[in-house]
Amino acid sequence: MPSEIILKMEGICKSFPGVRALHNVDFVLRKGEIHALMGENGAGKSTLTKILNGVYEKDAGLIILEGKPVHFKSPQEAQNMGVGTVFQEIALCPNLTVAENMFIGRSRNAFVNWRQMNEKAAEMLGSLGIPASPTQELASCSIAVQQMIAIARAIDMDCKILILDEPTSSLDEDEVQKLFALMRELKARGVGIIFITHFIDQVYEISDRITVLRNGELIGEYETPELPQIELVSKMMGKALSDVSAMKKHEPPKSDDRVPVFEAKGLSSAVGVRPFDFSIHKGEVNGFAGLLGSGRSESVRAIFAADKVTGGEVKINGKRVKIKAPLNAMKLGIGYLPEDRKSEGVIDELSVRDNIILALQVMKGFFKPLSRKQAEEFANQYIKLLEIKTPSLDTPVKSLSGGNQQKVILARWLLTNPMYLILDEPTRGIDVGTKVEIQKLVLKLAQDGMSLTFISSEIDEMLRVCSRMIVMKDREIVGELSGADLTEQNVMQMIAQGGK
């Protein structure tokens, strides 16, 4: 189906201080196609789309939109020319209403017609099945709903080109299907869609064409059906991927008779998770499975006292302890890598070094700072170990790519040498290569005797690393699976049926 070309980007170059983000990249988008933009973290996907929608200015190159060269200086200009975007990090205003968020910045009218706007928004929300009211303040919606609203906004914009940068990372399967239905409809209307995701299955489900970037350079453009998955992955990573499939599942030592490393009874927290019991043994990797909002994150947060703990009893190695604040948990040897990297993980303006040593430093105490030399040694050690790509130790962590930021946080916790490490979505928004690295690391740590909790939205990933899975639904633990029972089928069933 060779149709007309709607967008052509030629020889795009862009550098940031110390980092070359894009070098001579070409990109072509046709009318009515869904074009997946693939690559590892830091490959330049986000940069490319941000140049297209006017957030960044390109250093060199040419953008031709419908045959005419264009140069966008702001997202507004790009919007006016028909380039709509849904950003990876939700870019909406939490203090405005849902309806306003859908329509602000679009109208040229001097005044706002609230009634009309609310009606249109209600209609839109209804047709997309988004559970929000137009007059609600956005801050009171869940993250997933906010994401859906961002998509609704972009869809409604009557755009010629729609950029979806990781729209599915916080959606559950149902919502993803809704989104896909929408995308197909838009495609039929002739919209060119640029789709960025790390879910390879989704790429094959929906996209027509794939462009692969690596290290800011163009690798190639392919028809989706003609590119086998394994080849795609190796193109993205730049190496053959034999070891992905070769990974062995880790079996924990039989440990029923020993005292668990961590044990909680009737634990509950202020954000509304039902009191639950939980325990983990030395060298074990367990998982919390469940849909988004099932309470899996809230549960592990309660263990770490990331939210205010309202009740329950906690034992470490059989000894009763009190965990009131994250610092207590840290001192007892618990580490926690939070779900939301941007707002809870990194301290973006601080250097890579400071980010890595942060937790260790805090544990050592206010009056015992590490010497600069020590800090640099530690940081360098983990930069090497986890292969973190950074220009220098003093680089602010915000100028690293998402995956490298995640590794920095991982390094931070490994440095504290915890006996129990909680990883909440450590692989979200991370490319396949790094994902595998992290999974392998988890298994290796477990072998060395660390206990880990591993949470992911991708069940197969969890199945690969976890030896025991706790299933949650509606903020409650509904069951536990391990050994031979631990299959995708069973987990799904348990989530669906809620127990038994």
């Binding site: 507004q76 006016n80 203090n95 602000i104 001097a110 007059t135």
Partner: protein, 360 residues
């Protein structure tokens, strides 16, 4: 458990609305207490009208400040600009070089000039607003003393006539100590206040600029991504604030009829305090424009309370600080209770219609 599902939770009140309601209730309660405690003063309607009559300029300054605060900025030059305008207009009128219209244009011009300068430097050169408007404050004060440093009464007949305009409300009023009935009166400045409140409230609620400003104040980065011209929006908010300060200067002049170096001094602090009491946060993006006049009224009621109570001289400043403290604490406590999601627990149990269902 199934019975709970159909109950769609009621839309949560937005922060702006909640803060505005708190501000309104605080004001009403305080005024009520004032009425009970000091009926001599507060029972007279004129007391209420005089808040507006004598402080029209402060109301107007507060409105301008409210707009930049919603946009996430701050403008501490407003008081000084207001003072500069009164003096400049007084000099103009007294020198005979211009009439009232010229003075009005001059005041708008000065306000606009400051607004443009602040707006450009803050929005387009990305300099910190506090520093730039601090410089603006120094500039206005310096220009004022350079222009004329002695107090200057405007004696131009046309101006005195304008200044003496009163709108009398014959059915409201009091008998004074001589036994003469004095009707309530409203001054022209009050009309300006009312007009500006209406215009600005409409602007903040219904105009594109107003909504964009909320968005910019809430999250500048997101606003940019949503296709809002952040710089332009910020620029206009400062221009508007400057212009408003200019208007307030003119209103100040027709209230007192004189240029003084002390005119409008510390208005910026009062305006910030008034806005905070009116539920407009310094962080930006939160607040209802109508909170600005409410906050100003609260502030003025505090002053009047202190006067009517005859607070000892040395304690007056402390008491007004203390009252400000109480209001801020109240606001903060209510907001934090709400954030902890047990805001409803504040209601006594007998007020609850039904007990929450435990478990499933």
């Amino acid at each position: 458990m199934g019975a709970l599902n159909p109950n769609k939770t009621k839309t949560r009140m937005s922060n702006s609305t909640l803060l505005f309601i708190i501000a309104g209730i605080i004001f009403l309660v305080m005024y009520g207490i004032a009425l009970l405690t000091f009926p001599l003063s507060f029972k007279q309607f004129q007391t209420f009208f005089d808040f507006f009559n004598l402080n029209a300029a402060l109301f107007i300054v507060t409105l301008g400040m409210c707009i930049v605060m919603i946009g996430g900025g701050i403008d501490i030059s407003v008081g000084a600009v207001c003072g500069l305008v009164t003096m400049a207009c007084a000099v103009l009128l007294e020198s005979g070089a211009g009439d009232i219209w010229d003075a009005l244009f001059l005041s708008l011009g000065i306000g606009l000039a400051f607004g443009l300068m602040h707006g450009y430097l803050i929005a387009y050169l990305e300099i910190q607003p506090f520093i730039i408007t601090l410089a603006g404050m120094f500039l206005a004060q310096g220009l004022l003393t350079t222009l004329h440093r002695e107090p200057l009464n405007v004696t131009k007949p046309a101006f005195v006539a304008l200044r003496s305009v009163r709108i009398e409300i014959p059915w409201l009023g009091t008998v004074n100590r001589l036994g003469v009935f004095i009707p309530c009166e409203i001054r022209p400045g009050v009309l300006v206040v009312v007009a500006l409140v209406i215009i600005y409230a409409i602007m903040m609620k219904w105009s594109r600029f107003g909504r964009n400003l909320y968005s910019v104040g809430g999250n500048r980065q997101s606003a940019r991504m949503l296709g809002i011209n952040v710089k332009k929006t910020m620029f206009f908010s400062y221009v508007l604030c400057g212009l408003t300060a200019g208007i307030s200067g003119f209103v100040f002049l027709i209230t007192t009829g004189a240029g003084n170096i002390g005119n409008g001094s510390l208005f910026e602090m009062k305006a910030i305090a008034a806005n905070v009491m009116g539920g407009i946060l310094l962080n930006g993006g939160v607040g209802n424009l109508l909170g600005a006049p409410i906050g100003t009224l609260t502030l003025l009621t505090i002053n009047e309370l202190i006067r009517a109570a005859g607070v000892q001289s040395n304690l007056q400043a402390i008491v007004s600080g203390l009252l400000l403290y109480i209001f801020i604490m109240l606001q903060s406590i209510i907001m934090s209770l709400r954030d902890r999601k047990n805001f409803r627990l504040v209601l006594p149990s007998w007020l609850k219609l039904h007990r929450p269902v435990e478990g499933k």
